[in-house]
């Protein structure tokens, strides 16, 4: 395992480097000029040129890239071209709402979707199965913003159980934090629940047809024991894979959810930075996202060995 971990960490370096080069070039090739955005409509060409020089945008691309990489290796992600705030501060300030919403979404999804999938598989062909599958199709088909607005209308405006929007850090006020994350988390979880429930059902149906499950039943084990001790554990590997690959879905969903619920997280920061061509912020965010994606998938790989003793690294 330690060798596997070291190997995987080393393999992440070229991945992140490729992402860095790709993002840097893509941004520089995309039309748009941060200096023009800063200066506004009435700036003269000379004023624009001076602002470009101040921001270092008049340097050759290779020099800009070299400076950026060297700074990153020193832990300096640069300064936002637009707000002149350190990028690291901007990202860390905006990271926690997204992390909290993401974690709660995954927890909610697993807690709700796995039992749903198990039930659907266990009662295959019954109304429960049909209900779960209908929910899955709906969860997958209805756009996140529609789900968000429906939940706001029902639970915030009509029933007044939760606030419409906003975010409070848990350290500041846990009650307010809890009230404000419920609707966005359920909104975001709707897709994830659909995905995981469907995969759990399919995976469990496969396993339930195996000889060892028939043997377990023949031994006289209770149905609950057969399901949870024998079948579900073996069906968990593909479910974990879906949770890992579905992480990308979560990231794209966060962008919309943060807008609908006015949560100052990384999703909104990413969109705002792209529209403003705030290169250092976009570069840091893409690198961070790629890093998290690599890490999540590493954790999923590690989890396989706990779920299936046959898998060894």
């Amino acid at each position: 395992m330690p060798i596997f971990l070291v190997r995987r960490f080393l393999a992440a370096i070229p991945v992140l480097l490729t992402v860095a080069v790709f993002v840097f070039l893509l941004l520089r090739l995309t039309p748009g000029d941060p200096a023009a955005i800063i200066a506004g409509d009435m700036a003269t060409p000379e004023q624009l040129e001076r602002i470009r020089a101040t921001l270092g945008l008049d340097q050759p691309i290779i020099v800009q890239f070299g400076t950026w990489i060297v700074d990153i290796l020193r832990g300096d992600f640069g300064t936002s071209l637009i707000s002149r705030q350190p990028v690291l501060n901007l990202v860390t300030d905006r990271m926690w709402p997204t992390i909290w919403i993401g974690l709660i979404t995954i927890a909610l999804s697993v807690i709700i979707a796995v039992p749903m999938g198990v039930l659907a598989a266990w009662k295959q062909g019954s109304w429960i199965d049909h209900l779960v599958m209908t929910f899955s199709v709906l969860g997958f088909s209805v756009p996140v913003f529609v789900t968000g607005y429906l939940l706001i209308t029902l639970f915030a405006l009509d029933l007044q159980l939760f606030p419409v929007q906003g975010y409070t850090p848990p350290s500041q006020d846990f009650g307010s934090f809890a009230a404000r994350v419920v609707l966005p988390s359920f909104t975001l979880a709707s897709i994830y629940i659909a995905l995981i429930a469907r995969m759990t059902r399919a995976s469990l149906l496969n396993v339930l047809g195996e000889d060892y499950v028939r043997t377990a039943r023949a031994k006289g084990l209770t149905e609950r024991r057969v399901l949870f001790r024998h079948a579900l554990r073996n069906a968990a590997v593909p479910v974990m894979t879906v949770i890992g690959t579905g992480f990308a879905l979560l990231i794209s969903g966060v962008v919309v959810t943060e807008s609908v619920f006015n949560i100052p997280g990384l999703g909104r920061l990413t969109v705002d930075s792209i529209f403003a061509r705030d290169y250092p912020v976009i570069q840091a965010l893409i690198l961070l996202t790629a890093g998290i994606y690599v890490l999540v998938n590493l954790l999923i790989d590690i989890s396989y060995s706990f779920l299936d003793p046959r898998i060894r690294y």
Binding site: T30, M42, L161, Q165, D173, A179
Partner: protein, 529 residues
């Protein structure tokens, strides 16, 4: 049962919510407002972004100011102009202090003026004629010009483009192409740096030592009396969310409500909607004078006659209560409201003439590159309507969709349209940005030094120079009327009408919300009952 659960839910959740959501002193009155965009650039001298100007107007004050009659009046300083029109003497009011406790001195004001003069068009005109700018006492300073320039005080008082805000000397000494990093002003509100989140949240606190002028508040002049403890601006990228938050009482004020969403608020008790900026905005089309076919005035006229304001405004705003067909390039409701030559734009009967003009011209059918921004709600309709109108009279139009920032970069290119350049684009201005000929950048006819489109127009330049030098309002009005006719003849730009954005606020808690060309929070009180 359900009712009980609801009550329990509301009680428990909102108790938690209200207890900690607002970390402020007990009893503090806070106005929570959703502005038209997020604040990212703080320096009001480096950018013309409206949100930056709005933020600066809370924190900084001005030497002289503009009232609702477009008159220049004293604000931080009394002023005197010598009989020969060459010397302007400013005397600071007593007791003015910065937010950090320092005293406002002539040196601070001189440094602020010099930095502003390097960036602002009006400021540059003053600088070109400036002989000296020096302190003459502990609380007075003098601006001496080499020749009379009656526009001086108007330029110093203007609130559009780059306004002249006063800053402490140590901040105003920052080079004008570098953004300032500290927001210390002498205005009615203090900027709370530690609670600022770029693009998300701006917090202001009442400046207790602000010296309120004896004159009543009027637009940006007079008594800027703050009646609450704090103002918080929160950015909501989604207008529907902001409306929901207003309905639920989570925010108090929304600067700009999309007209198509207004019906959602019109029946809500305790919410008032009204146009506060009653001058509104104008939408315009700008052609590229450097390249065919719009280097030919006849073809530019054909294009202008093909367009009509009603079609554009219907597509852009929809509800006629919130737009105005207006032929005046300086805006309707302004001192220079003249409509000469705008008949085809306002009546829409220029199609035949346009077709004939185009047929008689040298236009060879080369596609016109029309840039269409797809991500700015207030700019998506104009290109679509215009493209069809131009096709109707015989233009071959190549409409190219792009995001606004791509357009902003591309419009700076003087390359041929087929080589990454462009022929026509559309944008919007708030009326104070176009209402004065010297502030209206689209009139500048200095070729490569002019605004995007780069017209060379000596006749217009002469009229602008005469306007700046004119000593009486009658002469200025006469020149403004001539400029109106000239723009319609030469088509320096196409004026496509005026529109108004309604604001909305909780009238059950806020009082004193007044009309002004940008949102003002002084004079507004909050009563939570």
């Amino acid at each position: 049962m359900n009712a009980n659960l609801n009550t329990l839910g509301r009680g428990s959740l909102y108790a938690g919510l209200m207890a900690g959501a607002l970390a402020m002193p007990a009893g503090a009155q806070t106005i929570t407002a959703v502005m038209h965009s997020g604040l990212r650039v703080l320096d009001p001298v480096i950018t013309t972004a409206h949100i930056t100007r709005d933020n600066a107007s809370m924190i900084f004050d001005t030497l002289v100011s503009l009232n609702s009659d477009f008159e220049v009046v004293p604000q931080m300083a009394e002023y005197e102009v010598s009989e020969d029109g060459l010397t302007y003497t400013f005397t600071l009011r007593d007791g003015l202090t910065w937010h950090d406790g320092g005293e406002v001195t002539p040196a601070d004001c001189i440094a602020s003026m010099k930095r502003w003069m390097e960036r602002d068009g009006g400021g540059q005109m003053i600088a070109d004629k400036m002989e000296s700018l020096e302190a003459t006492g502990d609380n007075s300073f003098e601006l001496v010009l080499t020749e009379p320039f009656p526009y001086t005080l108007t330029a110093m008082a203007k609130v559009s483009g780059l306004a002249l805000f006063m800053m402490p000397e140590r901040i105003a000494s920052t080079p004008s192409d570098q953004a300032i990093e500290e927001l210390i002003g002498s205005g009615p509100f203090k900027f709370v740096q530690e609670e600022f989140q770029p693009g998300v949240r701006v917090v202001f606190e009442k400046f207790e030592d602000y010296v309120v002028t004896p004159e009543p508040a009027d637009w940006f002049s007079g008594a800027k009396e703050v009646l609450v403890d704090r103002v918080e601006w929160v950015t909501m990228p989604d207008a529907q969310t902001a409306i929901n938050a207003l309905v639920n009482g989570e925010i108090d004020y929304m600067e700009s409500v999309p007209v198509d969403l207004l019906p959602l608020l019109e029946t809500v008790e305790g919410v008032e909607t009204q146009v506060l900026n009653d001058l509104g905005s104008v939408t315009i089309g700008r052609m590229n004078f450097l390249h065919p076919p719009f280097d030919d005035p006849q073809i530019r006229r054909a294009a202008m006659m093909a367009l009509n304001q009603e079609d554009v405004l219907t597509a852009l705003i929809g509800n006629p209560e919130y737009y105005q067909v207006c032929g005046a390039i300086f805006g309707c409701g302004t001192p220079y409201e003249f409509t000469d030559g705008s008949e085809t734009l306002t009546t829409g009967d220029g199609v035949e003439q346009a077709t004939q003009l185009l047929e008689e011209s040298d236009y060879d059918g080369t596609p016109i590159v029309l840039m269409q921004p797809t991500d700015v709600v207030t700019l998506t309709a104009q290109p679509i309507v215009a493209a069809q109108a131009l096709r109707n009279v015989g233009f071959n139009v190549d409409m190219q969709p792009m995001d606004w920032q791509t357009l902003v970069t591309r419009r700076a290119s003087q390359a041929a349209p087929s080589d990454g350049g462009w022929n026509i684009f559309f944008t919007n201005w708030v009326v104070p940005e176009v209402s004065n000929p010297l502030a209206n950048v689209m009139l500048n006819g200095r070729g490569d030094e002019a605004w995007f489109g780069w017209p060379t127009d000596e006749e217009m330049n002469q009229m602008l120079a005469d306007f700046g030098a004119a000593e009486d309002e009658e002469t200025r009005k006469s020149l403004a009327e001539q400029m109106q006719a000239h723009v319609m003849e030469n088509v320096n730009y196409v004026h496509l009408g005026q529109y108004f954005s309604p604001a909305a606020w909780r009238s059950d808690v806020l009082s004193g919300v007044e009309t002004a060309p940008f949102p003002v929070f002084w004079g507004v009180s909050k009563d939570e009952g």
